[in-house]
Symmetry: D2
Subunit: 425 residues, 4 copies
């Protein structure tokens, strides 16, 4: 054990870090305090680069000005407007962490900020965007050939093409290792057969990333990724009657003897690690996005509680109402901080999937729980789509489930902590 007074002199001269500078400053700071900012309680903004702050601003303006005005009608009518994707592409919001191919090449934190701002309006819009960026452009960039990248990435980045990601099958939600879709090797290519379901963007997709188990000479092999254009043998019926995420479009993908050439294979893909790599990226984005939806719920509930009076007082003056706001605010603040730290670790090459599970699970679970509690502040008006929070509540149930349910991430983390897999327990 080294005494602190021995430690301190050794290091203090050598350091010009945030910490030591701060330490010195604090002596002068005394007890002067900054003003509390309920929209950024722990000053996340101060941790962002100027570039990130500018990106944040762009995403926020776009979402508030272009998405918010149409979300109510989109949700009511269960319709997705593909021009949303082109608008996002125009601003550089698609595949933003990719270097080259017309992509912005920004930090993972920037990607998170974009997801947060789009989902502040609606989880459906964020889902459509996540699919394009993390589940379509990412695997092409990671596992594709130069030719594939050059052919597809620029047009996907612009939103000229819309992509979808076919992993989940009707009977295998949480356990993709039981995949039934096959890609059988033919003379010049592959024949794909199988069915995928709950596929975001599928009905309007031009491009399909399809995961299938390869069959070569009758032998089943690894799961591989294929990059397909819409073509003969692909059917993508829309799923109707959704109770949530109605502003995005969801469908099945049926593959009936789809014939493709060898160039449809993503050659660097192999094994479930490949689609999981996509999920890692998407889950990271979700962990930011859902906090955006929660922040919007807080903001709207706060406004309502300040304006609405009962018993001759604003609702915001009631202890039971304040507690709801406070609980939600703490969860949003810490969830965002965790997502931020994860983003930095990601870009520093210090991350791992279990960390993503922690933040995806924590933030989705909390966003759902607290948006539900906040919804109660609206009383009878909770039921009306005019107040938006009911829509967030419905959406967040889905975000808590897709890309690994809450319980599956519990078990991923349980294994990470104990070393013991309990998935089939």
């Amino acid at each position: 054990m080294v005494r602190l007074t021995a430690i301190r002199p050794v290091f203090s001269n050598a350091l010009a870090s945030r910490a030591s500078v701060a330490s010195t400053r604090s002596m002068a700071a005394g007890s002067k305090f900054v003003k509390y900012d309920w929209e950024d309680p722990l000053n996340l903004n101060s941790l962002l680069t100027e570039e990130e702050q500018a990106i944040h601003e762009t995403a926020k303006s776009y979402a508030q000005e272009n998405l918010l005005p149409r979300v109510k009608q989109a949700y009511r009518s269960e319709e997705f407007d593909p021009s949303v994707m082109r608008e996002m592409g125009e601003l550089g919001l698609l595949g933003p962490t990719i270097q080259g191919y017309g992509c912005a090449g920004v930090s993972s934190v920037s990607y998170g900020l974009i997801a947060r701002e789009v989902e502040r309006v609606d989880s459906g819009y964020r889902s459509a965007m996540s699919v394009q960026s993390s589940l379509v452009m990412h695997p092409i960039n990671e596992f594709g050939t130069d030719a594939q990248k050059e052919k597809y990435l620029p047009r996907l980045a612009k939103g000229e093409l819309i992509g979808c990601f076919g992993l989940t099958e009707p009977n295998h939600g949480s356990d993709p290792s039981s995949m039934e879709t096959t890609a059988t090797k033919t003379a010049n290519g592959w024949t794909l057969n199988g069915a995928k379901t709950w596929i975001s963007n599928a009905p309007v997709a031009d491009v399909f990333i399809i995961w299938a188990r390869e069959v070569v000479d009758g032998q089943k092999g690894k799961v591989r990724g294929f990059l397909l254009d819409r073509q003969k043998g692909i059917e993508t019926p829309k799923i109707d009657g959704k109770l949530a995420l109605r502003a995005s479009i969801t469908g099945s993908v049926f593959l009936d003897n789809v014939q493709v050439g060898d160039d449809a294979l993503l050659p660097k893909s192999g094994g479930l690690g490949s689609p999981f790599s996509c999920l890692n990226s998407a889950r990271f984005g979700i962990s930011w996005g859902v906090i955006g939806a929660l922040e919007d719920s807080i903001s709207r509930a706060r406004d309502y509680a300040l304006e609405r009076h009962q018993f001759n007082r604003p609702l915001a003056s009631f202890q039971l109402v304040q507690k709801k706001l406070v609980d939600a605010s703490s969860a949003a603040t810490l969830g965002l901080l965790g997502a931020y730290q994860l983003g930095r670790l990601k870009d520093e090459g210090k991350w791992c999937p279990d960390q993503i599970s922690m933040m995806k699970r924590n933030n989705c679970g909390n966003a759902l729980q607290h948006s539900r509690t906040l919804l109660d502040i609206f009383g009878g008006n909770a039921c009306s789509d005019e107040y938006h929070v009911g829509r967030h509540v419905a959406n967040l149930q889905v975000t808590n489930t897709y890309e690994g349910t809450y319980d599956i991430h519990t078990l991923i983390l349980g294994k990470a902590i104990t070393g013991i897999p309990a998935f089939a327990n």
Copy 2:
């Protein structure tokens, strides 16, 4: 709205920040992952300076080697060993953020790390230390004269003197503005009368920071701080029968016509802002400390779950057990990250009391809730003091209450968010 591709080139050359460096690196990083560290899931350690890491190590070693071996007996017998304070003083752990006077002058994050490691053993030891550092040395440093500082700080820093902090009164726990203790101006000094209760360290204290309402010429004025030696008129009976925090000592302070000179006044104190300044510092430390207790609970529950078998399997293989560990781990990780960010903001002069309320409340509430859940893993053995977690559970109920109850911090934050005070609602 500025397009990202426009933003990116503008800033990218100018930046040498963590973010942009990282962004570049991430391209190379590909899908290589680090190993998940369940004891530091989001790599807080990487955010610490080398100095802070060394301080952390010192505090951890001391606590594990010197405090852990005696805590069981101390708790059973409800006795406090004053030599603990001298040992801490020897290592520089007391008043560590203070510059000069034999204090280490380290960062607030360092202070937090010390609290975390001491409370990993027991909240009572951390409480004794917090009182000395944040509630006794801090106000002397902030509100005292040079003479007071020079006389008291070095000996308090060494643990030669033990201090206590008299704010809370029997009838005024959450509302110190109703303080009844008075300091009446006399010709050459002051006469103090009143009663304080639930005062940590009081029965063994040499030095007393007493908050009292000044009475000058029969007029009641502001609350002022006084720095007293143990003397005639001060009684400090121990409170027996405590159900928690039994390794620290607690008492009342009765002030019966205590006569002191003018030099007993802390001259820069005035108004409740002064004791609140102390509480801010102490609450900051608590927000770190309780996570230490939670981390110890996680670690012990994990060990037990791995070793203990039922139905021919380790408990750790059961989903219901894994969920407990995972929930606790997420809460500890994010709570620590929030406390860290708060510490940095503090030293950068960007903090405010509402932020402290958020982290004190969140971390105390979560440490309590999750340590309770973890305790259930121990089954019948939960009841035995051999397993330590039951002690943490009892202690953490108190930490969730003192220095502002959970509900009071809810209302502080409720006011911060809505602008409406609801304390008396």
Copy 3:
């Protein structure tokens, strides 16, 4: 203190109660056990009379055979089929506790059983029925003249007329004492002006119970009830874009100089006690109904968990899934038992509104919480209306809010326990 051996002989001969008979029988029963019935864990059925069991069966058959087949489409299209009301009327399900006027005159427990079975299909259908029975027929029966009763009750009982209940105003949800709607005395009757909102059945209603503050000679007086036919000056626009309860129809009621005769007044109404009497009856029914929705959620989640396999096992074999079912089952069982006891107390003249608040609040809160948890079992399919539970979840948010929000009932009970009103705190 009387020794038990002294108590026992005194009473044992005199008693032929359930308890003492049972006590004797238990000696013989030894350790033989009945089979556990997960659909009625504490054997509520054994507490029902044969009549009640038969009524239960009628309501269940009707709901499953006639309501279930049309609910999905009704919910999707946000349309209410008025023939539902006539079918219920045909079976005697409307106003069933009323004696005479073609009503069945059954027990309150019977009324509860009907609500439970209708809401097992959908809260919207139960709401439509509750309005007719508790909020329209009940006040006519309680506060009306014989002429009013004879004119309206038989046709309401048959479902030939549909009624609605106008109490809530746009600005006064939880606090009806601030009512703004007025009934101004005229020479031969009354002129009504005002606006009501979130009124179930309003757009299709033939009959309106309107609560208004009487104004006589310019003086505002008590709140009185009025019984109106649809007529000039009444507008009832439908509220679109509801996020829940879409199988029932909801609207506003605008009253613009509606002229009615003296015979429109419900003469025995006076003060807020009158509409509260209606709410008491409705809340009692809700406390039964929501458990029906929860029971359906349990049953469907159980079926799904048994059928759906992941990791080569049924979901029902996973501890995390079992816990969800078990928690929900306990809450449903005890909630039902409480509602039953309340019904018996009601019919014995031993009830009070605070008891109703307890059961309305407890059962609505639990039904909502547990149906949400159960929904997670469905994974991605939770989002589809094919699985019904998502619809229950959306509906139950509303039932937890209407007829007194969860928080308002908290404060009603808080006052009942402490004697201190904290509504405006």
Copy 4:
């Protein structure tokens, strides 16, 4: 489907049940209400026989007058006063449901009421009593010979002898089927070897019910019960350092070649069903007892909240405080109602172990959760044993664990609902 108006006439004449009488009465009752009784919100008392009411009164008086005055000291000093058992015996509180042998032969509901009143003072006292009644007298009565019954039951009923129950082993808490203690057949009797732990009453016990696996001719057989006097080879060291249940005494039982005759065997015991029969009885009592502790917590928290002022108002006027009281009150009320119904089913021969699991789990879980929440009302005073609720909180953690942990009962019920055992999952 039979119309209600058709059902009603058929049955109404034939019935003279509570329900139909009540139904008629309700018509007259109108809107007159009884006064809300916060100590018995749903009028459980009205469901008790006069005998049960008298027993309830006896138990309550005894506990308040004789146990309450000594509990604080007993808990502090971790000492059990055996005269408690003789006092209970004197009043007929021990083995009260047994017919004959000096036992009272009362209903199971009476037994529950006794447990509730004793645990209203302290779970430790109730535990000592439960062991005597359900775990010692019950198995003698169920599985013993007439000679065993006549020799032991009268003296156990009087509290002259104190018994304990040795089932749990150091390595087998939740899974008694792995029992290691053996009873090896000898020429004239049995030799017992093994170790039991966490055995209530053991250090002061005169009589031991020991469960051991029989070994005959070297072959391991069923688990059998043995009835032993304290004798050579039995060691019962006290467990010190308990963090809860300190008013009862707990120890290990070490059996080192204990030689007993054939008459030590409980001949009708065989298999784990026998000790489980005892556990069923004990768990039933616990499901009542813990509600007593919760009711005491409610009552004390309510008193404190009414007396204690902060911000110039009683704590009881704060919404956040009222919510705590209301939540606890609802849970206590419904938990009691469920325990009551279970008691009636038990005596009617209509019960099963899964029902007991439901009520033991639900009531223990709720008593623990809500007493913890109520404790927060006491602020800093929560830590003092003067206020009693902290003691309940500590105790209730144990009651939630012993006699089947919360999670084990979850899995018992999970199996009951789904048919799938998940204990080893």
